[in-house]
Symmetry: C2
Subunit: 241 residues, 2 copies
Amino acid sequence: MPSVGILVIGNEILSGKVVDTNSPYFCQELRELGATVERIVTIADEIDIISKEVRELSEAYDFVFTSGGIGPTHDDLTIRGVAAAFGLEIERSDGIADRLRRAAKREPNQAELKMAEIPAGAQLLDAGDLWFPLIVVKNVYIYPGIPELLRKKFESARDRFRGEPFVLKKVYVRRRESEIAPALNDLLREFPDLLLGSYPKLLKSSFHVELTLESRQAAYVESALESLLKRLPTEAIFKVE
Amino acid sequence: MPSVGILVIGNEILSGKVVDTNSPYFCQELRELGATVERIVTIADEIDIISKEVRELSEAYDFVFTSGGIGPTHDDLTIRGVAAAFGLEIERSDGIADRLRRAAKREPNQAELKMAEIPAGAQLLDAGDLWFPLIVVKNVYIYPGIPELLRKKFESARDRFRGEPFVLKKVYVRRRESEIAPALNDLLREFPDLLLGSYPKLLKSSFHVELTLESRQAAYVESALESLLKRLPTEAIFKVE
């Protein structure tokens, strides 16, 4: 199953000016595809930090997604950081320069041409109707910070990240977590490979805890669900879905 | 100025079931206080991973905030992870056990008593009207994942994280980023200590780019703002705030 590490690059996130909606989007989409996000790291716009993180994530996971820091201004350092991670030179991509020229219908200026600089040997993937391609260096996919663009690029590449999806069942329980904890522990002894989540809710009248049961084997989840329902008093179950 | 590393602990975030609102909250509040969030790491509920990250963040920054993974169930491993990070034993806190007893008005069960287990020598800080205290181990503040509780605990401790706040000016510009990039580079040569952010917006009719100018020195920001406004054509400025 593909594993993914996400690197969110941007002072605007750390300084609280912008809320990162890109990593939640990736997490939801990748889960649906059956890939597993193992780690998300959010860092400042600094080449050395970007480079160190990219190298570590690239070694640890099948895919790395970066978000942010590509563009024409001084604080757009992701391309240089990714190149440094793998000891690659930066080169001007004639393909991107051409696309820039066609999109702007004139000769691009210096700042625009910065967007044609890529790590040597990078792959360029065309992304739907966008003029700017998705840049891929080894297993690192370089996404822009702007959510609309990031989503279009991800959509155009999503089949590359497909694994075997999880089957998910949810049980909403009218008991406190501490009351059902023994039943959950027993359940996990019977089904050690079950991914079992327990999420208490505050200020809800209809249920106290949301339980999630997951596995890539549908039959395993069904058996675990059946076992769980037997372990809890009927009146404690608010809903199963 | 205090530096902060944030550790978000929870499979529910990585698997896309829950969107983390805690780290954005911390980022906004800490910025207002003048503390600097340097890094956010989101990881799974696994003791070894928690322990490694806590140790690294604790060495690198003045404060570490963890979010999530404290509670009575099998997937609540933060306390054990933090203890392991510093080679500390786990001990039963009589203070917390007493509070549990008072809150429940009966003898706590085994699962509830798990919540009274803390790393040896941890500090307990009373948190407003909550029965459960904020647990602090060295420079690590252990917050619950439930946003309402996390916020109350942060509020009760917030004066500990105070630094010298940043002064922020925003300039909304009716030009594309690539057109104003040279002016921004010149500005940074004149004001090398300015924190300058440039954020392109899509699908907005009134402006293309939001610029943020920041420093802890109000006079420095004012001078930089004045210089920036001279560098851009008057008709390019949509708004200054």
